[in-house]
């Protein structure tokens, strides 16, 4: 509403775009996240930002919403150059962001959440009636008359919580609205509802930036798209008449970085089956998944965010509740209800949350590495044999090329790649046969990534069975002997390495249909 009147009153002949970002660059240690990217959005359009994980989408949006400043480049709003030093400054300049993680306070009411920090009243005493009325008005504007604004946020279904989140941002009356993967956790009907709202907002003149990995939604609902690849702008194009396949092709480009595995490393089909999963279901997130992992094999598991691949991996390690199905190790059915039981069965998991779930930041490299294997280092039953422990740690530091001043350094002081290798060494030292990784290279720079890929291939060569869960297709393609594609919690397709292409995988990831198998 505001956007429209403002644009209409603009006297100049060429209306400047609502937002223009010119030549934006951003470097992080070891990576160029953005390299001179141009990006512009007009009022009254839904503009999709498209790219693989790590293409630079999040960095660009974080710069726009004031999370961090660009190293180079200029941001113009309505043709005027601005600096955005702080998230609240972004909000003041009319840029509202709906982040992936919800920020609602579960115990406050919907209305109180929407106006938290901006309560109506005289500055101290709150006028709750005004808040309720205004919240009602904002939600009515979105056509969401069914939401009770006095209900506690915790009592709303997720889709409605998300709409409240959007209402909260809209109550600041932004002219530019950023939505970061808002549809990832939503069901089809909820997604449809969300787009109805976005179209309504668009007709009011808002500039909407929409980030999603679902091409179907993008081509169906967005007006233009900007494609990023490896931190660079590929192109900006109108999306009318563009097919999902074209989009996928543009996004992938010619970048397949080649295979990390050489032909002679391919596993023999006759190798012993290390792990066999039959009809596994996990809560309502994974349904009826079956596969077998052989000695020396690397299986890649991929899918859209929330397609169930992470829960599958977690269930194999005993930290997600298994609802149905069996797990066999070397042909024998086993019960895995906790990490301890999984480890006893020779299975380990390295999760994507390295800091929260893997590291002991203030303990040394040595203590981080040997914790699950301490039983081996006991001397006479009670005390640890420091010499032997230290030797083993040194051997693994050398073998995995962990760059560290000494075995006594606190793990906190290491780089992401070296931290990941310390955790890997932890499980290798325990001599486990089945290694499961979730996003093994998230947050790790390019050089260390290649090293970790090398390590994985080598370990497969030594007879381990490896499962890599990842949303990075080049990683999956480069490492895997076989690729499992998950869609909506089900195993949509199994692809042998020789038959796998990035386009084919993307199609299955997006649509879940098992074409060409």
């Amino acid at each position: 509403m505001h956007g429209k009147t403002r644009v209409a009153s603009n006297q100049s002949l060429t209306v400047p775009p609502a937002l223009e970002m010119r030549g934006i660059s951003k470097r992080f240690p070891g990576v160029v996240a953005l390299d001179r990217v141009d990006f512009s959005v007009r009022g009254g359009e839904i503009h999709s930002l498209i790219g693989q994980n790590g293409a630079g989408k999040s960095t660009l949006m974080n710069i726009l919403s004031g999370v961090y400043p660009p190293d180079e480049g200029q941001i113009l709003i309505d043709g005027k150059a601005v600096t955005i030093g702080h998230p609240r400054e972004a909000l003041r300049r009319g840029i509202g962001t709906v982040y992936q993680e919800l920020s609602l306070l579960p115990n406050l009411s919907v209305a109180d959440n929407i106006f938290l920090g901006r309560e109506a009243g005289n500055g101290f005493v709150i006028d709750e009636r005004v808040i309720v009325d205004r919240a009602r008005a904002v939600l009515d504007l979105l056509g969401e008359t069914a939401i009770d604004v006095t209900a506690r946020a915790r009592n709303l279904p997720l889709a409605q919580q998300q709409i409240v989140e959007i209402a909260k941002v809209l109550s600041h009356e932004p002219r530019i609205l950023i939505l970061d993967e808002p549809t990832a956790p939503l069901a089809a009907e909820e997604t449809r509802r969300l787009f109805a709202i976005l179209h309504e907002l668009k007709t009011r003149g808002l500039a909407i930036i929409f980030i999603s990995h679902r091409f179907q939604e993008i081509v169906a609902h967005c007006d233009r798209g900007t494609i990023l690849r490896n931190g660079r702008l590929v192109l900006t194009l109108p999306l009318a008449g563009v097919t999902e396949e074209e989009l996928a092709e543009r996004m992938i480009g010619q970048q397949v970085e080649g295979c990390y595995r050489t032909e002679d490393q391919t596993r023999p089909d006759s190798a012993e089956v290390l792990l066999e999963v039959n009809g596994l279901s996990v809560g309502d997130r994974v349904h009826d998944v079956s596969f077998a992992l052989r000695r020396g094999e690397i299986i890649g598991v991929t899918g859209l965010l929330g397609a169930g691949q992470n829960e599958l991996a977690r269930a194999l390690f005993g930290i997600a509740p298994k609802a149905a199905g069996t797990i066999r190790r070397r042909g024998r059915e086993v019960r895995i209800g906790s990490p301890a039981e999984a480890i006893d069965q020779g299975i380990c998991l390295l999760t994507e949350h390295r800091k929260q779930e893997g590291l002991f930041p203030d303990l040394s490299v040595k203590e981080n590495m040997t914790l699950p294997s301490l039983g081996v280092f006991r001397r006479g039953g009670v005390f640890l044999d420091n010499g032997r422990e230290r030797d083993a740690v040194r051997r693994f530091i050398d073998a995995l090329h962990i760059v560290v001043r000494s075995a006594g350094s606190r793990v906190r002081t290491l780089s992401g790649g070296n931290q990941q290798k310390v955790i890997l060494a932890r499980w290798l030292m325990r001599d486990l046969e089945v290694l499961i990784f979730i996003e093994p290279t998230r947050g790790i720079d390019v050089g260390a990534k290649a090293e970790i890929y090398g390590d994985l291939v080598r370990l497969a060569g030594e007879g381990k069975g490896i499962i890599v869960v990842s949303t990075e297709l080049p990683e999956i393609l480069g490492l895997s002997d076989r690729i499992l594609v998950m869609h909506g919690g089900r195993l949509a397709r199994v692809v042998e390495r020789e038959a796998a292409t990035e386009e084919g995988l993307l199609a299955t990831i997006q649509g879940g249909h098992a074409d060409g198998v």
């Binding site: 306070l105 579960p106 115990n107 406050l108 005493v125 915790r154 279904p157 930290i319």
Partner: protein, 340 residues
């Protein structure tokens, strides 16, 4: 962390029913136990449920009831304050010393207020400004404030003789005495602050998610400090009833009061992890502790078994709380993707 990885508490299946049951238990479970307790005491001692005894029960526990209002704010905002018991002693000593020196009760009352607010300001600045854990800060205050009260008086009580004290002790209208009025004032003011002002709103918000609250543009540091200062005012009210009741400022007054207050807030059904709660629950918890204190002592229970019985009753009440939380854990909204 991503949206799919929600908090375990949000997960649910058939959650609404459990949520209702859990909330009912949290709200009324203790009330039930309270009724049982009153019944037992009345059967054993028919004089228990008389107007006179109820009145004296309230007067005996007036300081606890008032301080528990402040404690409720602290717990809801996911803070803790161990200093009020000691602070009542010190603030009382300040009141008595200034009164003795000037002969002016108003100056004495103001001195007590100033000390209560200053100590809480000191706590708040260390918590908010330096970033030290509230448990440590107020634990230290628990010690040094009591120490100061003892040192300033050479460990002996300072008598306060004033018409004001006489008024507090002897005035009565329809069975309502000034300490009971002060309890009422404290709960009314607390209710207003908690439900109708920004201070209350942000008290809940701080306990729910401090980072999200700050991101919403709330000056969390300011409101935290304000909350502790307000606590100081409640402590001061507690000082007035304590000094009046004794007719003197005792350096060992209100020993352990802070613990009773915390226990009252928790067994009343306010969760220790903050983010929610109400003064009604606190009031029930306070009544429970008050009846326990009064009932056990009218039974002529000696010190030792008094503590044992009191402790047992409190543990039992805690079980109610745990039970309601267990129900609530699997409860609430049906959506919010299943967490791992």
């Amino acid at each position: 962390m991503r949206r799919e990885a929600g908090d375990g508490r949000w997960r649910s299946r058939g959650g609404e029913a459990r949520y209702v049951a859990g909330t009912l238990l949290a709200d009324y479970g203790l009330l039930l136990m309270f009724g049982v307790l009153v019944a037992i005491f009345t059967i054993i001692n028919p004089g228990f449920l008389t107007v006179a005894n109820v009145q004296s029960l309230l007067e005996q526990n007036a300081a606890l009831a008032i301080v528990a209002v402040g404690t409720t704010f602290a717990i809801i905002s996911r803070n803790i304050d161990l200093s009020p018991g000691s602070l009542i002693a010190l603030s009382g000593v300040a009141l008595a010393l200034v009164f003795t020196a000037t002969g002016n009760i108003v100056l004495g009352l103001l001195a007590g207020l100033a000390v209560a607010i200053l100590v809480e300001l000191c706590n708040a600045l260390l918590i908010v400004g330096v970033g030290i854990d509230p448990l440590i800060v107020t634990l230290a205050a628990w010690i040094w404030v009591r120490g100061l009260a003892v040192s300033l008086t050479d460990a002996s009580s300072v008598v306060v003789r004033s018409p004001f004290i006489d008024f507090m002790n002897s005035f009565e209208l329809l069975g309502i005495s000034p300490p009971i009025v002060l309890i009422g004032v404290a709960y009314l003011a607390g209710w207003f602050l908690l439900n109708k002002t920004r201070l209350g709103r942000y008290t809940y918000a701080l306990g729910g998610d401090e980072r999200a609250t700050r991101q919403a543009g709330v000056n969390t540091a300011f409101y935290k400090i304000l909350m502790f200062l307000m606590f100081g005012v409640f402590v001061w009210l507690g000082t007035i009833v304590t000094v009046s009741r004794l007719g003197a400022a005792a350096p060992d007054a209100a020993y352990g009061l802070e613990l009773d207050a915390i226990v009252a807030v928790i067994i009343g059904g306010n969760p220790f992890h903050g983010g929610e709660g109400s003064l009604r629950r606190t009031a029930v918890g306070v009544l429970f502790i008050a009846v326990l204190n009064n009932g056990l002592s009218t039974l002529g229970m000696r010190d030792a078994s008094f503590y044992a019985f009191k402790g047992m009753a409190i543990l039992l009440a805690l079980l109610f709380d745990v039970l309601s939380r267990q129900l609530l854990r699997g409860a609430t909204a049906p959506a919010r993707g299943q967490a791992v």
